[in-house]
């Protein structure tokens, strides 16, 4: 069993951090193989950023797939760029605050919408949008145990304990949305 995920958005939306949290959690608490591969180029703030996470029971070949099982898009430009890479009947997670769902010209996909930009602003910190989306993804896919993912977030933020309650709130909100879509 192998799951390919691509996370894409603006630089600054925490796209890399989202992918890294998921991959690190997988490494630290399971026997699965996992790779995290950041795209890099002549990128700058406000430009696009994307990364690939592959989680597998077997050896991983390419750390970036040609065909993705799952795609998370945090902005409209990423939807246009990556929508075609999702496999038939794949799963698409969109930041519905700024991604226009009507632009999804495929009917085979399972679409999970979460207005993570707005939700983050409601929580008082625009930066937690990636942690909300991480919760959405983990809550919906259950690719690994959500508590393991949270333990990784907690560990990474251990030097900034003040940020923990807000991030926990963000993660739980995301999980709630993810699980609700499942039903």
């Amino acid at each position: 069993m192998e799951t390919n995920l691509c996370v894409a958005g603006f630089g600054g939306q925490g796209v890399m951090t989202l992918g890294k949290f998921l991959a690190t959690a997988t490494c630290e608490s399971t026997d699965k193989n996992v790779t995290f591969f950041p795209s890099y180029g002549a990128e700058q703030r406000g430009g696009t950023a994307n990364c690939y996470v592959v989680i597998s029971d077997d050896q991983i070949g390419a750390p970036l797939g040609d065909v993705m099982d799952d795609l998370i898009v945090m902005n409209g430009a990423s939807l246009n760029k990556f929508l075609k890479t999702v496999k038939p009947n794949g799963r698409l997670f969109i930041n519905s605050s700024i991604v226009d769902a009507s632009e999804i010209d495929r009917t085979d996909l399972t679409v999970v919408s979460a207005p993570v930009t707005e939700l983050a602003l409601e929580m008082g910190n625009a930066k937690v949008l990636n942690v909300i989306m991480l919760g959405v993804y983990v809550g919906f896919t259950e690719v690994i145990d959500p508590e393991i993912v949270w333990a990784t977030v907690e560990h990474k933020l251990s030097k900034k304990p003040k940020l923990l309650p807000l991030n926990r709130q963000a993660f739980e909100k995301g999980m709630e949305i993810g699980r609700a879509h499942k039903k």
Partner: protein, 361 residues
């Protein structure tokens, strides 16, 4: 041992520290900036020295100097930076100074693309500088392998008193994977390694002209230079035993893919998918690209094989020259290539294998 989640470039640096590397000099270049960054943080913790040189040329010559004093030393760069270092590498090879360096290849030639590629195969394996010297060149296809190879490279360098090159690429530099790190050599072990080089290293000898240490990257007397070259030639000849390759699903294969490094890893997953479809395909992956594992081709049943497929992230193909020498015209060799910073696509390999199979039927 517990596995840790590390970026390839940082894992390589940590492996070097654990192998006893106590001097690193480098100059920034994408995609391997995390190597010097990691050393800058790590070296002070182990009593080692990190220097960001004013250029690639300065850095490699600092490594030349530190290694001449018997310290396990390393530098790293990416394609155009490696070209700049070639003068210093050639001097190390000539003076028989053990050092390790890593090339995280990007697209080329010239400044090329900053994304991953495999454009430096011929430079790495045939002529990494002037003067016809050779080196053992190791080609990792995973972060774990990059770690293990870096650790081993220092032993090989010391054994032969010669540079060793890790030929990696931008994917290995930037991908994060779980790795098991090798054991950290104790300060006593690191000292013992250095002490073992007393007979030749410039570490302060008594006033005794005869037994004094000389670091000589060349000779004025032609007969001495020829003798040095003959000794080197004998060393290079002895490396046949060090040649290493992975043969994967080749026993009954009708099509054999040849690929190294990241391309081989992607090709391996293509083999798995094709095998599930009943396609008799295998992979021959050189682990040492120099010495090239010609022996591995002798293990292939040429009565069963119909064709080879050389997969490289290089246009034109480069390793194909060695593959061609190994195959000796017995079977056709086709190619599946990409370049310019594009990463090899598994789908492209699968498509090519299927089309080769079709043509034969």
């Amino acid at each position: 041992m517990a596995r840790v989640f590390m970026k390839g470039s940082e894992a390589v640096a940590e492996a070097a520290v654990r192998a006893g590397c106590r001097f690193f000099a480098g100059y920034p270049i994408t995609p391997q900036n995390e190597v010097p960054e990691y050393f800058a943080r790590r070296m002070p913790e182990v009593g080692g020295v990190f220097v960001q040189g004013e250029s690639e040329v300065a850095s490699v010559n600092m490594v030349y100097g530190a290694a001449s004093a018997g310290t396990r030393s390393m530098t790293s760069s990416s394609s155009p930076g490696i070209s700049l270092k070639s003068e210093g590498i050639s001097y190390c090879a000539s003076a028989r100074i053990p050092m390790v360096y890593c090339n995280f290849q990007r697209g080329g030639p010239g400044v090329g693309a900053i994304q991953p590629a495999q454009m430096d195969y011929l430079q790495a394996t045939k002529a990494s500088g002037n003067g016809g010297f050779e080196m053992i060149v190791l080609a990792p296809s995973t972060v774990q392998e990059a770690v293990d190879m870096t650790y081993k490279a220092f032993d090989l360098a010391d054994r032969d008193r010669n540079p060793v090159l890790i030929l990696a690429d931008g994917v290995i530099a930037t991908v994060m994977e779980p790795v098991e790190l090798p054991e950290m050599k104790s300060p006593e072990e690191v000292k013992a390694i250095k002490d073992g080089k007393k007979s030749w290293a410039c570490i302060g000898h008594k006033i005794d002209y005869k037994n004094r240490a000389w670091i000589e990257p060349g000779q004025w007397k032609t007969e001495i230079q020829q003798k040095c070259n003959e000794e080197c030639a004998a060393l290079y000849e002895s490396w046949k035993k060090d040649a290493e390759a992975e043969l994967y699903q080749t026993e009954d294969a009708e099509i054999i893919i040849t690929a190294y490094g990241i391309s081989a890893r992607i090709a391996k997953s293509a083999v798995d998918i094709l095998r599930k479809q009943g396609v008799k395909v295998g992979l021959l992956r050189p682990i040492t690209v120099h010495p090239f594992p010609f022996y591995a081709f002798d293990k292939i049943d040429f009565d069963k094989v119909k064709a080879f497929l050389d997969v490289e992230m290089s246009i034109p193909a480069q390793m194909i020259q060695d593959v061609d020498t190994a195959v000796r015209g017995r079977k056709p060799i086709e190619t599946c290539l990409c370049s310019g910073g594009n990463i090899m696509s598994r789908e492209a390999i699968i498509e090519k294998v299927l089309s080769m199979k079709e043509q034969e039927v």
